[in-house]
């Protein structure tokens, strides 16, 4: 709770900076503030508390994920310094929106009441709509914002409808009451309809097949930094929330209902990967890759009682690799009008360090050992086989092989093609974010126990 309040306060401060003309200092101050909030949040780890009539519940799950979200936000804010260089007058707005977005994320993992959950998801979504359309002179950005808004508000509507049905069945928005009712045998049928609608809305947010159609267009059209936010922070948040809701509500569902998850996971992986093979735009490619990763993350729902730690690990590995990759993309495509693979030609020669970082993050996403992505997949496979879904694991393995195809397309472009332009300058913050993110990823890979055993 303290984390949430502090974050909101920081967001308000960011807006005030503009008035006091402290624009130059906004990025460092926000980062320092976020680090302080991170410390505050970690200090609460292990405590169990609920606030305001159980509106916000703080437990291990919420603090662990909150820490991850804050770390990701720190990276995203740091990248903003360089990204909005030419939009100085709006810098404080963008930073403030990012901090508010974090507040939405925090609410989404620490809700104790469906009303709070809905507030969180709306804060997150509305911030993202604004950020997606934030490059207002650009047609594509406008299109992305519009598309995302229309589709996203539709999904929000479905979620709201689901919440209403759940309320109708149980008579409460409170998660504890819902969990108890869901466990008991005599729950009204429309409770399940509500759960299904809620799931549809969240599947939309994590961009799983068949609710993924918005993702490639929106990822491509949005400013790169917004794409980074969507594909790391927003996706991870939605998945964590989905996990939290599912573990509370599916207690009494017959095990056959998991077939739906299996099918959605298989489809997401396969369609995401196959579509990614044909992309020439890196952001679009990462959108499809994100769809396939959503499929992998959904596998955690099949063994829900033990999977909290492995989901945290998977999301951390994925998000850190994503941040590292996007910071390189931001650097490479800074003054380009698209993000085609052609821009990456010869990066291995002109900038070996960043090329190595991008390579490492792609290898992590592909699941090659010593990077965290490998252990994430390993633990996931282990748990899924434990739950008895060998076929799903084999589909996942085949998909991992396919994914090598497009990740390596980018690596090949960096190392085998001749560079076609030189880039000036070495923006400190981009380098710092890329290096720290990939180092964290490798550290997670070398010492997986620390995160796996956290929850």
């Amino acid at each position: 709770m303290n984390t949430l309040i502090a974050t909101t306060a920081l967001g308000v401060f960011c807006l005030l900076f503009e008035i006091f003309n402290l624009r130059k200092a906004i990025v460092p101050i926000t980062i320092v503030g976020l680090i302080a909030i991170l410390g505050l949040n970690i200090s609460e780890f292990g405590m169990q508390a609920s606030y305001y009539n159980n509106m916000v519940v703080v437990d291990k799950f919420s603090t662990a994920y909150s820490s991850l979200f804050i770390v990701l936000t720190i990276f995203l804010v740091a990248l903003a310094h360089n990204f909005y260089e030419n939009h100085q007058s709006k810098l404080s707005d963008f930073i403030a929106i990012k901090v508010f977005l974090l507040a939405g994320c925090l609410a989404m993992v620490s809700f104790g009441n469906l009303a709070m959950f809905f507030l969180g998801i709306e804060i997150l979504s509305i911030s993202l709509y604004v950020l997606a359309a934030s490059n207002r002179m650009n047609l594509k950005s406008n299109e992305a914002g519009m598309k995302y808004f229309l589709m996203g508000s539709f999904a929000s509507g479905i979620i709201l409808f689901g919440i209403c049905l759940i309320y109708g069945a149980i008579g409460s928005f409170d998660m504890r009451t819902i969990q108890e009712a869901a466990m008991s045998a005599d729950v009204e049928e429309w409770f399940y309809i509500g759960v299904i609608l809620l799931s549809i809305g969240l599947l939309f947010k994590i961009a799983a097949v068949p609710f993924h159609f918005w993702a490639p267009d929106v990822y491509e059209g949005s400013p790169s930094l917004t794409t980074a936010t969507m594909s790391t922070l927003a996706k991870v948040t939605a998945m964590a929330t989905f996990f939290k809701l599912a573990s509370a509500m599916t207690g009494n569902l017959p095990s056959t209902s998991q077939t739906v998850i299996v099918v959605v996971a298989m489809l997401s992986m396969t369609i995401g990967n196959i579509m990614a093979l044909r992309q020439v735009n890196v952001k679009r490619m990462l959108a499809f890759s994100g769809i396939s990763h959503a499929g992998f993350m959904l596998m955690t729902l099949l063994n829900i009682s033990v999977a909290a730690g492995s989901l945290l690990y998977y999301t951390s590995a994925y998000a850190l690799a994503g941040i590292a990759a996007f910071s390189v993309i931001l650097y490479v495509c800074k003054n380009q009008n698209n993000e085609d693979i052609a821009n990456f030609h010869g990066l291995g020669k002109t900038n070996p360090l960043l090329a190595a970082i991008l390579t490492a993050s792609l290898l992590s996403m592909a699941g090659i050992p010593i990077f965290a992505g490998f252990f994430a997949k390993l633990v996931l496979f282990n748990q899924t086989i434990q739950a008895g879904y060998l076929a799903l694991v084999i589909v996942a393995v085949v998909n991992s092989i396919i994914s090598v195809g497009y990740y390596f397309k980018l690596i090949l472009a960096m190392y085998t093609k001749e560079p076609n332009e030189t880039r000036e300058g070495r923006p400190f913050l981009i380098y710092a974010v890329a290096i720290i993110a990939i180092l964290l990823n490798i550290l997670l890979g070398i010492f997986p126990s620390y995160v796996l055993n956290l929850l």
Binding site: G309, G348, L363, I368, P369, I370, F374, F375, L378, V379, F381, N382, I385, Q386, L390, V393, I394, V397, S400, I401, V404, G405, F408, L412, Y415, T416, P448, S449, L452, N453
Partner: protein, 478 residues
């Protein structure tokens, strides 16, 4: 003192090489590889007086994965092979000028690190990690420093990567499944895990996919010749000399003892695959116009025979296979090095453009001839010992296997000697062949020396590997 120091030395060596800069890189790399060879000799000495060199440290508690290294004669023999060949390969590359030398030498040492780890690991997942890690350096070595047209090279190397990665992922699934069964991936618990008949067949097949691609066994060999041809010489030597031995070693260490029933069930098919590789490789080798491709196909034939020897599940078969693995490692590195020596002077790998070297450089010709003869298993060379033992074990299973496998010697003699004739003899080439320099001579002489020494006196290696092979056979027979 335990074996983990060897791994640390190689890893530190890899980093030190990278930071020593382009000029010093090759020398630093050589220093570290020779040091690692010395250290493995020291460990051999400790091992022979019965000291326990195993290393164990808890790594991941949930799932239960440990950093466990186990030393026995077989593993030590492979580690010695790796460290000695790495030193030779690095020394042999002194005549080459590499762009960005610090990276390539650092990658070579890193690969050596990963391969040594693969040979020593006694925890399934640790083994898998080393196995995969060795793939990344060779991918970049072949991709960046390779020769020929960039587009074609890219295709060949990516195909290689996807093939091997696909194979090993199925091995990973097998490991995860085994973990469910036994609750631990340590070698002992995997050897004792109780698997039903069907499970064994599935697990055996998953392992087979990984190893058959790596070794390579027909029909999973299609990546091989192109990659051998396109990779730089150091890469080809690493691949053919050491990396494919990882596959063969893993068959002995992991595949057979974990799923022995499946191995017995498929015995004829597996030997058949191996023998098919022998015949196919030899016949295709006859038609090759490119020297490196010819050597690649001859290598395919030889490893086919080694694989057949392993799958006989007899002590002779395993022993012959391991001896032949070591012998083949030295011969193939020597042969690819001669191809490189010729390329340095003639800038071609096409056999028809060579010839007339004998008159200009008799010393090189004699060394080359010895390597060619060793490769076709002439008695008194190391390869004869290995190949003969393997053929003998095949004859125990079925005499026709031995006869068909024996064609490797006849066909091998045919294409290798024909190649020798076209490359070395014949009328004088218009191009001048500068005589081999000191470092090239030293490398070749060391290889030839090793081949002769163990050809006459294979007992030390035999004594080293036999106890561990007997242990493994006991588990298979159980």
């Amino acid at each position: 003192m335990d074996i983990s120091y060897l791994l640390i030395l190689l890893l530190v060596g890899s980093l030190a090489t990278y930071f020593s800069g382009d000029k010093l890189a090759s020398k630093v790399a050589l220093l570290f590889s020779v040091a690692s060879f010395g250290l493995s000799l020291y460990f051999l000495n400790l091992f022979s007086i019965g000291e326990n060199l195993d290393f164990f440290s808890v790594w991941i508690t949930q799932p239960n994965i440990n950093f466990a290294l186990k030393v026995d004669g077989l593993a030590l023999a492979m580690v010695l092979l790796t460290s000695s060949l790495t030193s030779l390969i690095i020394y042999s590359s002194f005549g080459n000028e590499f762009k960005n030398a610090k990276s390539i030498y650092s990658l070579i040492l890193f690969m050596s690190f990963a391969m040594v780890g693969t040979f020593l690991a006694s925890d399934g997942l640790l083994y898998y990690i080393f196995w995969e890690l060795s793939l990344i350096p060779i991918y970049f070595i072949a991709l960046i420093w390779g020769n020929g047209d960039a587009e074609e090279r890219k295709k060949a190397v990516v195909k290689f990567f996807i093939y091997t990665f696909a194979g090993s992922l199925f091995m990973l699934v097998a490991f995860v499944y085994l973990y469910q069964k036994s609750g631990s991936l340590s070698l002992e618990s995997l050897y004792n895990v109780d698997l039903s008949y069907n499970e064994q067949i599935w697990i055996f097949s998953a392992f087979f996919l990984a190893y058959a691609i790596k070794i390579p066994i027909i029909p999973f060999h299609t990546w091989q010749a192109n990659v051998y041809q396109k990779a730089p010489s150091v890469g080809t030597m690493l691949l053919s000399g050491i990396m494919l031995k990882m596959g063969l070693y893993s068959v002995i260490r992991w595949q057979l003892p974990i799923a022995p029933f499946a191995a017995k069930y498929f015995i004829y098919i597996l030997i058949g695959f191996g023998i098919a590789g022998v015949i196919y490789g030899s016949i295709v080798a006859i038609r090759q116009k490119d020297l490196k491709k010819l050597l690649a196909y001859s290598s395919l034939a030889h490893v086919g025979l080694i694989a057949a020897g392993i799958y006989t599940l007899t002590l002779d078969g395993l022993r012959g296979a391991v001896l032949q693995m070591i012998a083949h490692g030295f011969v193939v590195v020597g042969l690819f090095f001669t191809a490189e020596i010729i390329f340095r002077r003639y800038e071609t790998r096409t056999i028809s453009e060579m010839g007339g070297i004998r008159i200009q450089s008799p010393k090189f010709t004699s060394l080359f001839l010895i390597l060619v003869l060793a490769s076709v298993a002439l008695p008194s060379t190391f390869n004869f010992v290995g190949e003969f033992t393997v053929l003998y074990s095949l004859s125990q299973i079925n005499v026709w296997f031995a006869i068909l496998g024996g064609t490797t010697i006849i066909l091998g003699a045919y294409y290798m000697l024909k190649m020798f004739q076209n490359v070395m003899l014949g009328e004088t080439n218009s191009k001048v062949f500068k005589d081999v320099n000191v470092s090239e001579t030293i490398t070749l002489v060391i290889i030839v020396g090793v081949l002769f020494f163990f050809g006459f006196y294979p007992k030390p290696i035999n004594d080293l590997i036999t106890p561990s092979l007997e242990n493994i056979l006991n588990i298979i027979k159980k």
